[in-house]
């Protein structure tokens, strides 16, 4: 047997997670520094340079980074362009929102009833809460889906279980029928649209288009100022992002990541290697739905309100745009994209950006921001397919050589690549 190069043995690399991925330590260090910095500058525990509302914006941004991580895992690594992950995000928000609203209303109702001459019965309290919450949609009874809203542990379980189960069932049906590519994208979009339209109905049991509100007030902690609560949630969001990042790194490094990327690049080849491709896709789809649910559960208490418009298809499309701009197929790219674009979006749509008067026309950023975002999406897709994250490659000059038209074999005069394509 002619062994071409047996003498040059390859260098063995250590197989430790963090040693193999130095970017993880850099990322976690940046996140820790950022968290520390914001804590010191914020009103809650620090010197108060950063306003509470801005701390909330930053905390929300961290949650968006977390859901972008999930999107990158499912799209950038596994090749499933899901346009429905913000539905899972929204479900997580609704799940925690139900408890927040129930528990806080309960306190108010008990207080108001305590003035009555007779102590209120459990039924009276329950009716009072229902009337408070559902009066706005003309109902006064609890719908069945509020059955466990009184229990924080059960609603927290719902944050994980409901998105997870929905993704499991939906994914099982879709992947089993070998729905891929753009058809799967359309299917996921239909799912989020259907969910959003259902929730818009007044009798959906989740207050229709009013959504759930007052979520920023933690039940039983009414005395704690929002400046402190905002920092708590900011910390929780940073912790979730850090843990989520580690989880994603663990999933995509090693052999599992290798299989998942192989599925993205050539699904049928992976099948012929003996891997049950559908099981892998289902695993990734469900895992990312759970991550999205957790991110949503941290986001909406900071936003204070959730309504069905939040899970309209456009939200999931934005999510894909963030990941594309940040650079899919690399985790820090998703985080950078989500943070960069959503903060810019907050700046431009928040009315802080000064209008530009061109004399014949005034550019109002609130309207023109979407156009700018669309344009930058096109530009990134065309000219920088690796996104902002690709800049790191550029700096490290890790560009792989282009091999178009190279010789096919080691022998002189071998066929050239282009001819062999036929």
């Amino acid at each position: 047997m002619t062994n071409v190069a047996l003498d040059t043995a390859p260098a063995r690399k250590p197989t430790f997670l963090l040693v193999n991925n130095p970017s993880v330590l850099i990322f976690l260090a940046c996140l820790a520094l950022f968290t520390l910095g914001v804590t010191v500058l914020a009103e809650g525990f620090g010197i108060g340079v950063v306003s509470t509302s801005f701390v909330k914006t930053l905390g929300k941004t961290l949650c968006l980074c977390l859901v972008a991580l999930a999107m990158d895992l499912v799209w950038g690594y596994c090749g499933i362009l899901s346009l429905g992950h913000m539905a899972f995000f929204g479900i997580g928000g609704y799940a925690i929102g139900m408890w927040l609203m129930y528990a806080r209303t309960e306190i108010i109702v008990v207080q108001s009833l305590s003035a009555a001459p007779l102590p209120p019965t459990a039924q009276e309290i329950s009716d009072g809460i229902a009337a408070q919450i559902f009066g706005v949609v003309g109902a006064s009874e609890f719908p069945p889906i509020w059955a466990v809203a009184h229990s924080l542990p059960l609603q927290l379980a719902a944050v994980v279980l409901v998105p997870g189960l929905l993704a499991l069932v939906f994914g099982w049906l879709a992947f089993r029928s070998r729905v891929t590519g753009v058809y799967l994208s359309i299917l996921t979009q239909a799912m989020t649209l259907a969910l959003s339209l259902y929730l818009f109905q007044n009798d959906s049991g989740l207050r229709g288009n009013n959504g759930l509100s007052g979520l920023q007030n933690l039940p039983g902690l009414g005395d704690v100022p929002q400046s402190t609560v905002s920092i708590w949630f900011f910390w929780a969001s940073a912790l979730a992002l850090g843990l989520g990042y580690l989880l994603c790194v663990w999933v995509v490094s090693g052999k599992f990541g290798s299989v998942v990327r192989a599925i993205r690049d050539d699904e049928s080849r992976v099948r012929f290697l003996g891997y049950p491709v559908e099981a892998y896709k289902l695993f990734i789809f469900t895992l990312t739905a759970v991550i999205a649910g957790i991110a949503g559960a941290l986001y909406y208490p900071q936003a204070g309100i959730i309504n069905p418009a939040e899970i309209a298809p456009i939200a999931s499309i934005y999510l894909a745009v963030w990941v594309a701009i940040g650079g899919r197929g690399r985790l820090y790219g998703a985080v950078i994209g989500a943070a960069f674009v959503s903060l810019l979006s907050t700046y431009f749509t928040g009315g802080q950006a000064p209008d530009i008067n061109l004399g014949f026309y005034t550019i109002q950023w609130v309207n023109w921001w979407t156009v700018l975002l669309g344009l930058s999406f096109v530009v990134v897709t065309l000219f920088a397919p690796k996104g902002l994250g690709g800049l790191f490659d550029f700096i490290a000059s890790k560009r792989s050589p282009s091999r178009h038209g190279a010789d096919l074999g080691p022998d002189a005069g071998a066929l050239r690549e282009k001819e062999a394509e036929t």
Binding site: P10, F256, A279, S400, D411, E417, A420
Partner: protein, 246 residues
Amino acid sequence: MSTLLEVSGVSVSFDGFKAINNLTFQIGEAEMRAVIGPNGAGKTTFMDIVTGKTRPDEGRVLWGEKSQSLLSMSESQIAQAGVGRKFQRPTVFEDQTVAENLMLALKKKRSPFAVLNFRASRADQERVEELAGEIGLVAALARKAGELSHGQKQWLEIGMLLAQEPRLLLVDEPAAGMTPAEREHTTEILVEAAKTRAVVVVEHDMEFVRRLDCKVTVLHEGSVLAEGSIDHVTSNEAVIEVYLGR
């Protein structure tokens, strides 16, 4: 010699065109077989049926000692049962290194949770290096498969097939786009593999088939036209007419 794969009376048609017509084919446990035939004879469709990519309209495909039917199994189950396939165009995972490609193919548990907890042992690493040695890619282990030449990709794919440790190897035009030296090496690898397992080689190039020195099955219009040694089939009148005589 016991039969490893038995295909009997299989037919499949695409929009009325009969790609495979009442095909019957058998191969033993350690046997090399070359399948030749003009374009459109159904060679690739035959492989598609065995690997589960295409479901036949009728017929039986039986596998192994227990005569298990492959028709009710998915592609991945068939692959796990021991059928390995090499495609016409080299299909390696270009974004991953040669070592990663080989590690993916290495015969291990394939379920997601088993893979999630998978840690490459020293023995696994050594097996990968050994395979890389066989296909002459030791120096390229850390390189991305996309950077390899066409011939090297062909080899990498053969190496991945060997790593799967299949009992039946289906190889579609392995020598396409290779230089004479590379062809010779490919022949060696295939002949070596056929000592311990069944190997089916689909090939256009008669010179390459002659060098494999094995039983030849000639396909034409979806069924077997002739079977026997290369000299036997090349002297067959019908074969000369449909294939060689043109």
